[in-house]
Subunit: 237 residues, 2 copies
DNA sequence: ACAAAAGTGTTGTAACTACACCCATGT
DNA sequence: ACATGGGTGTAGTTACAACACTTTTGT
């Protein structure tokens, strides 16, 4: 446990110098097979009551910022994402009307297919990135930074596969890459390159016979790790 | 100005809930032509008195975290780096014996050639990354994270050129890339690839005649920007 | 029946890797 | 004189971009 460094008084917790408070906010990305989306919650209290906002909240004294982000996420959305990446700190002096609040921003990647349960809370809702509502505080800026971070990280981490269900079609994978990178790819080249990389493997069709042609793929984590290890021999900038 | 959210009492600044304090720490990279180095300062006060540590300090209420990092850097090292990149947040509950302290970590890139003046302070000293002293707090972890961030960023930003003097030899550039990426490159291929990219241009020798063969190069920022813009059409992961 | 989605191969070009020798400089 | 640093070309290989038609699925 940390050593308390405050004086407890009738007026609260007293310090020798004023302090900002710390919050975490979390940009949750999901993918429904067509569009990259973010999960927002509707604020129930002032300030910005009834606005849409990123889930998040205040740091407690016995948790790290990552633990705080996890906890708040679970409290507000019941989600327990596989990954949580810290990508920025937002500290404008006037970013929060309640006072001096510095927020540590994370993004999470969730398999939206598994999250159907999460949307029974009418105050949490998925929005496609292209149709965002107005957001509370500076949350729009935070969200834009998260997009940039995602775009950067996709080259170094298996970002896409944390967003897709276990089995996915090549077209879904491509759409996701295109949404994240904001580009278009040639379908044939994308197909070949992905398969050639060896990190995804084709799933034997399960003889549903409903779909003769539609192939499904899955992600191969160990192959991905091997590929990463081997590529310690190229590229300058 | 932000709206004060504390009660001023005889015991200090009082809040309804306990708060962590916020610091910034800065990993300053430099390059002496042979080795990648970091600038450390010797602590003059407890805790960790006389240990080497990253420059940094407490956030004031009227500055952003980036401003804080700049200010502390100038106060402790007189440096005013071109760039300051935020790369991590360190918030382990017990990372600081003084109490609950969350630190926002930055790295800076400085042209060490221009910094000769900075080392008259005997309590600031450059260390090669391969010969680091023991560091205070969790600063060793922070430094290691900074190295990773630098390694990541070199592919997206003109990192190397902020560390080199205006004119540099190809070998210096290569040594720097090798130090950052922890790899070795073939000298001829490196040479060709760098020149072919167009972002560095050869300097006409200044007829010193002292060096007939030694070529110097300089970085071409606008060419770099053009290259970045054009490369909006490739690569998946 | 029709429209949209999904699967597939080839060829030209550009970029990368591997590799060895000679001259210049400084000690 | 000697060791180190610095400059340079070629050939084989691999990776990439460009491009159109056919089958399948869903409405």
């Amino acid at each position: 446990m940390y050593k308390p460094d405050y004086k407890k008084t009738a007026d609260g917790y007293a310090y020798d110098y004023p302090r900002a408070s710390i919050t975490t906010d979390c940009v949750i990305f999901g993918f429904n097979g067509h569009d990259l989306q973010v999960l927002l919650i509707r604020r129930g209290v002032e300030p910005y009551k009834d606005s849409w906002a990123l889930p998040g909240g205040f740091l407690k004294m016995n948790e790290t910022v990552a633990e705080c982000a996890f906890r708040e996420l679970q409290e507000e959305t019941t989600l327990q994402p596989e990954t949580l990446e810290q990508f920025g700190v937002f500290s404008d002096v006037e970013r929060d009307p309640r006072g001096r609040v510095v927020t540590i921003a994370f993004y999470a990647l969730v398999k939206q297919a598994l999250v159907k349960g999460g949307d029974d809370a009418a105050d949490a809702q998925w929005f496609p990135l292209k149709q965002l509502p107005h957001l509370a505080f500076d949350h729009y800026d935070i969200l834009k930074e998260a997009q940039l971070a995602l775009k950067r990280d996709i080259h170094h981490q298996p970002v896409a596969f944390r967003l897709l269900a276990e089995h996915f079609s090549m077209t879904q994978l491509q759409r996701l890459y295109e949404d994240i990178l904001e580009t278009q790819f040639d379908r044939r080249n994308f197909y070949k390159k992905m398969l050639a990389s060896g990190v995804i493997t084709e799933q034997k069709p399960e003889d549903d016979a409903k779909h003769k042609l539609k192939k499904l793929f899955s992600f191969n984590l160990t192959a991905y790790a091997d590929m990463k290890k081997k590529s310690t021999n190229n590229q300058e900038f």
